[in-house]
């Protein structure tokens, strides 16, 4: 997914623990998000979901499957 593009969360891989945690922060299946930036060298991905801005570590971001528009 490219910076400044929108997409919808389809699935969260890697166990229900991570899924619950993301869910409680507002990243649930079907939620529309916008990717803002990605810090290089396996750094975090910054996204906007609703009115929150969230930073996801590289490993977490890799587990969030998004359908890009």
């Amino acid at each position: 997914m490219k910076s400044d593009h929108k997409g919808k969360i389809i699935e969260v891989l890697g166990g229900s623990n991570l899924e619950t945690k993301l869910e409680s922060m507002g990243l649930y299946k079907g939620k529309e998000i916008t990717k803002l930036s990605h810090i290089g060298l396996r750094g975090p991905v910054v996204i906007k979901a609703g009115r929150s801005i969230l930073a996801l570590g590289h490993g977490v971001a890799a587990k969030v499957i998004v359908s890009s528009e």
Partner: protein
Amino acid sequence: MIKKIYLLGNPNVGKSVVFSRLTGVQVVSSNYPGTTVGIDSGYLTLKDGRIEVVDLPGTYSLEPSSKAEEVAVSLLKEHPKNEMVVINIVDSTNLERNLLLTIQLIEEGFPVVMCLNMSDEAAHKGVKVDPVKLSGILHIPVVPTCAITGVGIKSLIEKISDAAQISRKKLSNQERWVEIGNIVESVQTLEHRHHTLRELLEDASVRPISGLLMAGAVIYSAFKLVRFLGESIINNITDPIFIDLYRPFLEKLTEYWQEKGFWFHLLIGDLINGKIDFKQSLGVLTTAPYIEFGMVLPYIISFYLILSLLEDIGYLPRLAVLLDNVLHRLGLHGYAIIPMLLGFGCNVPGILSTRVLESKRERFIASTLISIGVPCVPLQAMIFGLLGMFGGIYVAGVYLVLFSIILILGIILNSAIPGYSPEFLLEIPPYRFPPILVLVKKLYYRVKGFLIEAVPVVLVGVMVINILIYFKLFDYITGFFAPIVHNLFGLPKDAIAALVIGFLRKDVAVGMLMPLGLSAKQLFISAVLLAISFPCVATFFIIWKELGLKSLLKSTAIMIGISIIVGSLLNLLIW
């Protein structure tokens, strides 16, 4: 009958500000998630009498995912539900995300009052939430507030007794979000606003190139400002007071002192060229107050002023995002930068705030790195005061050595300790501009905390040292350690006493080095050793309390090992 009131809400919604408003107890609040890692409690007087109010660490849900969240949730479940009220503090600018916790609380049968905080900011951003409608849908009292200015707090207090348990069907998270979507749809209206300069800056600070440039500029100017402010206070305020007012007074006093025996030695110390020298006399009335008020306090004020400003603006989480990939190599993640920065003020709050990190492994690595590689303000102030006269290069050298130690040790610990570094997941707050009064209050609170903790220890410490010197008791210790310190580190045997005292307080230890007339190289090595060897006793106990005896012993073994290696290396490498 209400016996307890708990404040609960998502991270960074202003729980601590509401707490201070309700109880009058001043606690530190900042603009980043995870400021409160412990429990604060105070009292509120209602018509039923005094009720305990407890400020809990922020949590996104009742299913905790960090130590601090665990603390919050377990405490909440300790008390019978019919004897308490939960004030659920909600960020009005981000209603949707906050409602999950609210719904969970209602489902679990807690009596809830909702405090719709930051209503002024919401209005400013074009977000309108209808409290009456929201209250009607959720069947709980809803009060809009702006805690930082105090608006709405009075009606919040009035509504506390209206809270009641209600029964509500338990849903899955997925179902809750669907319902929340519907609620938000009906109570919130959005007005379109154009992008502001603030939003542009918010955005630029988390993009790779512009973000790193901004981070470099912010860190550099923060460091320069701390030094500039600290030095200005010393040159214009504290030094004139000590030298022009306090010294003549002490000198009058000593004129009447015919016999220069034990008490003279204890209170005034040694005269240097027949005069009192605040840096070298080492007396309870001379050097002790000078170290604390004349050398350390100015930097405490300037450091916490700048730190508080960065905290309240909301810059620190952005720094965490940018540094995540570096810290990942050390077995930590980006958020560990916040405990580390707090550690620069004093290691104790730094180590306490490692509670925001998820695993014990991370907390151990972070605490060890802080206690070894992060010098606290008292130590830094003394390093400026002492090494500064040999040139800035020595001061910069100390930081460079410490920084390298953090990197190398972190990489080693990360590969040596089994486990993995957890992933980073953080909400980034908007930039906010704190009212000056709020900033001043926070600074006052932190400086007061420093004075209460430091001054007695320093006075007693200098007294004990003088007694030990007077009766020549240090000779036993120094005789034992002299070969190591002399052969490996190239330091005179008198420096040993200072290194030992470093365990008590770092600033006093550097104070003891001052009269020794060490060379620049020797001072440099002593300063580094003081920073990395045993942390002061307060830090020692906090590691014990937070991580247990086993971790403390491991951490200590690492410290001793590193001190010997680094001390010897520096002695060999520098001429």
